[in-house]
Amino acid sequence: MSSAESGDAQVALLEKLMASVSDAIQAMVEWDVEAFHAAVARQMALCAELNQLSHPPSTGATEAAHRVQQLNRVYQRMVTHSIQWTRTLQSMLPVDSGPESGRNCYRG
């Protein structure tokens, strides 16, 4: 593969990675766990592919990498925030899983 071809491939992979991060963010907001899982799986596959391209990035790939990096930081903050929230919510749930009373609380 030539340098130019390799650079194009890097850019294409990075654009796909960016799109999959966007998809993951959207899936989080829509509370669509399946879509979120799928986006994360795509990210892992794309990272594996990118790892195999060991030569220095082209200008286009560098710009794309910057964009991915910045978006990834927002994504990271969102996930970190969500992890904290789920832990907080988890702690609010009653430890005892016995039947609750009252119309505002039911199981099933």
Binding site: M28, Q43, P56, A65, L93, Y106
Partner: protein
């Protein structure tokens, strides 16, 4: 989409995600809050932004309470029924024992004792001690009527006090409902959904249904509450103050905006007290007055047809004071033994010898004569006991039926409006796992991008 667009989507999504989490948190925290209805996030596609009008992801359009207003209204309606029935039953239970055939001092038992005393006297009409016993038995009959009338009157007075108290409670709730209505209307006018006030309104409507029945109509001003006859109680932010006004019987009526709404209140504790005071107890008082008047008249008619132990023409055995000859109000409470001595009992026929008991036999015959509204005194007393017991029994059955319906409706309401802990727990576990795996990938991406950029920098230029 460029990086700016992506970052905008990410940031707005972060805010939406936070709000969605807030909703889950609120649902869990309020799982046992009365009136709280489960909330859901309403998502909508964000307006396109950027030069190429690329999609901007989703935004929170609002947070909506999940309510089934039909079920809510049915629960409130049945709550009104249940409270009315329970209140009626408890208000009547106090006087029920007075009507028992076996209760000492009841009208039925005292009349039986009276006729027994006359029967004993019949065997020895000149016996002064038996005459005194018969007179005492007659006084016990009068006393039983008076006591029963007094207990009924006291129960009515107690119910009347409760009417005043409930009117005040209803007033406070109507004012709170109007104030909450105003807040909701203001929020709606600004295009917002006021879920907290909606929950509060729901809770207050349930409380009001415990006090009185009403009907609701949604209008542009918010919720309108009226009586079943359409008399306004709350219109938008205005509450029509309930007041009390005495009727001709001296009992408090309920007035809303100058209109007497007493007759339209048949639900809630207020409806129960009004029903006890104006219907069951009033009817019992009226029946008891007829009973006392007709019993006294029947005994007096026989008594005045005979002669006493001294051969003097018999005078009235009982005296009864009524409002008029047609309005018998006061008969039971005023009945007294008019005779002052046992010797005045007219045992003999008119002009008969002192040992004659023929007139006494006629008086004893009254026990099995249809002298009280076409039935015997025993049957009349039993009818009153049965009518009262039947009313209490029906009230209890109605309360039980309403309670069962409320249980079913509450279950139905819970499945729609309630917070499902299973669902929330399941969601949280899924999210937790997903987020944890995402966090690892994020780290990989970050390292990868750093390596990539470092590689470009150390290679002396980009290719």
């Amino acid at each position: 989409m460029g990086l700016t667009g992506d970052l905008n989507v990410a940031l707005s999504s972060l805010m939406a995600n936070t709000q969605a989490m807030d909703v889950t948190s609120t649902n869990i925290a309020n799982q046992n809050t009365p009136g709280y209805a489960r909330r859901v996030v309403v998502l909508e596609e964000a307006a396109p932004s950027g030069l190429n009008n690329a999609t901007s992801g989703v935004e929170i359009a609002g947070v909506q309470s999940i309510r089934d207003t039909v079920v809510d209204m049915a629960i409130n309606s049945n709550t009104s029924q249940e409270y009315a029935s329970n209140t009626l039953s408890s208000s009547l239970s106090a006087v029920q024992t007075l009507f028992s055939d076996t209760t000492s001092g009841s009208v039925a038992s005292s009349i039986d004792s009276f006729f027994s005393a006359l029967q004993s006297l019949s065997a020895s009409p000149t016996d002064s001690s038996l005459r005194t016993s018969a007179l005492t038995a007659a006084q016990n009959v009068a006393s039983a009527f008076q006591t029963t009338a007094s207990e009924i009157s006291q129960s009515q007075t107690q119910a009347d006090r409760s009417v005043v108290q409930d009117t005040s409670t209803a007033n406070s709730l109507l004012q709170e409902i109007a104030a909450t209505n105003a807040k909701i209307s203001q929020s709606t006018a600004m295009g917002q959904t006021d879920n907290a006030d909606e929950d509060q309104l729901s809770s207050m409507l349930t409380k009001l249904s415990q006090v009185m029945n009403y009907q609701t109509v949604n209008s542009s001003d918010g919720l309108t509450l009226t009586t079943t006859d359409g008399v306004p109680l709350v219109v938008g932010s205005k509450a029509y103050a309930l007041t009390n006004s005495l009727n001709s019987a001296g009992y408090n009526q309920v007035i809303a905006g100058g209109v007497d709404i007493t007759s339209s209140i048949d639900g809630g504790s207020l409806g129960g007290y009004l029903s006890a005071r104006d219907q069951t107890l009033a009817s019992m008082a009226s029946t008891l007055n007829q009973f006392a008047d007709q019993f006294a008249t029947a005994v007096n008619n026989v008594q005045t047809a005979g002669s006493d132990v001294n051969g003097t023409a018999g005078t009235n055995f009982f005296s009864v004071t009524t409002t008029s000859s047609t309005d018998l109000t006061g008969a039971a409470s005023s009945i007294k033994v008019a005779l002052t001595s046992g010797s005045q009992i007219a045992a003999a026929a008119s002009g008969g010898a002192s040992g004659d008991n023929s007139n006494l036999t006629n008086m004893i015959a009254l026990q099995s004569s249809n002298i009280i509204n076409g039935v015997t005194p025993d049957t009349a007393a039993a009818n009153m006991t049965f009518a009262l017991g039947n009313t209490i029994s029906q009230a209890n059955s109605s309360a039980t039926a309403s309670s069962n319906i409320i249980t079913q409706l509450t279950n139905q309401q819970g499945s729609v409006e309630g917070v499902s802990l299973d669902e929330e727990t399941s969601n949280l576990l899924l999210y937790q796992r997903s987020y944890q795996s995402a966090a690892k990938v994020i780290s990989v991406i970050d390292n990868l991008m750093t390596d990539l950029l470092n590689m470009g920098a150390t290679s002396g230029g980009f290719q």
